[in-house]
Amino acid sequence: MSRILLSSVAAVAVLASAHGAAAQTEIQWWHAMGGNLGETVNALADQFNKSQKDYKVVAVYKGSYTETLTAAVAAFRAKQGPAIVQVFEVGTATMMAAKGAVYPVYQLMADEKEPFDPKSYIGPVYAYYSTTDGKLLSMPFNSSTPVFYWNKEEFKKAGLDPDKAPTTWEEVGEAGKKLVASGVKCGFTPQWQTWTLIENYGAWHNLPFATKDNGFGGTDIELKFNDPARVKFIGMLADWIKDKRFVYGGREGKSTVMFTSGDCAMHIASSGSASAIQAALGVDKVGIGMMPYSPEVKAQPQNSIIGGATLWVLKDRPKAEYKGVAQFLTFLSSAPVQAKWHQETGYVPITLAAYKLTEESGFYKKFPGRDIAVKQLTLNPPTENSKGLRIGNFVQIRDVEDEELESVWSGKKDAKSALDEAVKRGNELLRKFDSANK
């Protein structure tokens, strides 16, 4: 009896799935969002799948950004690639160079006749991933920008105003002195140092990172980040190491644990780290403010640039899938979805409508500081130095920047010779990229 029951259940299940497969076109979405972020991603896919009947988006976690990109590359070469793949911002030039593999989003939207309005997006978010004439290549998904975090309790202990962040780097230095004197182990530490201290410091002060509009104008470019302002800035931080006002905590996001453990009182980190940092230290103890700036370089800050990842559509999938892909991208950029994503993760919303919706819901009152990222990005209309970076071999160039900065922090080199060397080594990588993509 039970065997009959079981087999009939199995038969029904097979029929049901066969029926589902016939009616629905499956769309593979490979992403690099683990943990809580991954759950939010799955929820988004579910929500889309329930909202219509024709397509089923299958979100697959493929590991880190690098692993996801490598997996997509390997799968594409074997003609098994996903329709949508999430690629981090430093991979942008690599993706653009792969002309035979990517389906630009503006073209997809036009081909599938999906409504699409570039003006509804937040300037620097849209600009980072579009061509020089404003055509969007990949759909912004999780974008963040570096913001300033400080530990309010430790500020109070050091006799500083716990509700006011230092606005200039000079003030950071003074606060650092008082904090260290009050017994804090480290004044300040940055996350993703190349992104925060070199790339964003440049955009924030309207200084070029590379020639030809930071690489937007072509691949035959040269790096420019060894300017006197940045040499002075890096040299200043190197000085701060001596009295622990600055402590280096490793590459990428490794230093954040030093802030959440209370070792460091000040931190520059991705706005995408906000919810994790607030959860670790408590919402009341963490202040979030704009990045400090150097008034002697520029009287007022310009705007910051983003990091994070976008969704690239790959070619070579059956024609039927692309209609669904276009619909899914429209769904992802709709205001309620973006607002939810923004509030749950700390990534910036990609449209102004989602920002407004979040503001109206009272979210920023409840979580003060979570609007800083958008404010920084929209502080001024982006210039050619602050709309983003389009750098070939960027992963290796960032490694070079990391290596040279580390040689400054360990006292092996002074700021000038390290940045000069980083530019020289980076330029060789750029020349290589240029010749490979002619």
Partner: protein, 293 residues
């Protein structure tokens, strides 16, 4: 008397070695051939825009001073890992061989680390030596040593060497112990009766008889240090700080899979392969000659 086994069946021997040959061909020769082909190409990550460039990838590598730095570092690193690894495990094996009570517990504990993958070993050592929460760092701080492998290149190299050695000691230990146990007790006893002390007995009898094992382990450990240590570096230092631990095998992976520069990465792996063949050849040619089986 004929000692060899003779197969009357003509095809049987081929059939018997076929599985091993097929595995070797698919998993070793095919990828190697692909790497060689890829090393003379320049193409974008997705395989489009492919260009044949002869030896351009090799030329640009060999004219890059950073590549030589990495090669030099790799030689130092490999020499350290192989020599420390062999010395420590030989010492442990000799000690374990002499132990009378609780020998099996002692041996089991020494063999345990081999079950730990190099990547996991890297993570474990990373915890112990974490600059802000590591317990060893805290202890070192107590005796006045400021240990921060994230900042200090030499300390990072030292840490990677120790973690790599630790992960390999068990393997060496096993072979040395087996080698020691196969040395006839009568030889040692005879020497002892003739008045040779423990040190003399070790250097004149045990060590020469252990030489074949030692040679085998030297080859294996050199290869391990060259490529097997990837997991330790990847999980512990990612080649940093600066380029203090950027050994060749890590650079191959980094340029290929993080940088998507498959041409250069393949060229590097071809060079690494040649280096390994060369080193193994040298070892067989010059070291093996002085060993009597």
């Amino acid at each position: 008397m004929e000692k060899r086994v003779v197969f009357n069946e003509r095809w049987l021997p081929y059939l018997l070695v076929a599985p091993q040959m097929i595995i070797t061909l698919i998993f070793f020769f095919w990828p190697s051939a692909q790497a060689m082909w890829q090393s003379v190409l320049v193409e974008d990550a997705f395989g489009g825009n492919s260009k044949f460039v002869w030896f351009e990838n090799f030329v640009s590598l060999l004219s890059d001073p950073n590549y030589y730095d990495s090669a030099r570092l790799t030689l130092i690193f490999s020499a350290l890992v192989a020599s420390i690894g062999l010395a420590v495990s030989l010492l442990l094996a000799v000690m374990a061989d002499r132990i009378l009570r609780g020998a099996s517990i002692y041996k089991t504990i020494l063999i345990w680390p081999y079950a730990v993958a190099p990547a996991v070993a890297g993570v474990l050592w990373g915890f112990l030596f974490n600059p802000s929460v590591g317990i060893v760092v805290w202890l070192l701080h107590g005796i006045g040593v400021d240990f921060n492998y994230v900042m200090n290149g030499n300390q990072a190299l030292l840490l990677v060497v120790f973690a790599s050695v630790w992960a390999q000691v068990s393997y060496n230990f096993l072979f040395f112990l087996a080698g020691l146990q196969s040395i006839p007790k009568s030889l040692i006893e005879a020497a002892a009766i003739d008045g040779a002390g423990p040190t003399r007995r070790f250097w004149d009898i045990v060590f020469p008889l252990l030489a074949p094992t030692g040679f085998f382990l030297l080859v294996i450990n050199t290869l391990y240090a060259l490529v097997g240590t990837f997991g330790v570096v990847a999980s512990l230092t990612q080649g940093g700080p600066g380029q203090a631990t950027n050994i060749l095998v890590y650079k191959v992976w980094n340029d290929g899979f993080r940088g998507q520069d498959l041409g250069s990465s393949s060229a590097q792996s071809v060079i690494l392969m040649l280096l390994m063949i060369l080193l193994t050849f040298v070892q067989f040619r010059f070291v093996e000659r002085r060993i009597h089986y």
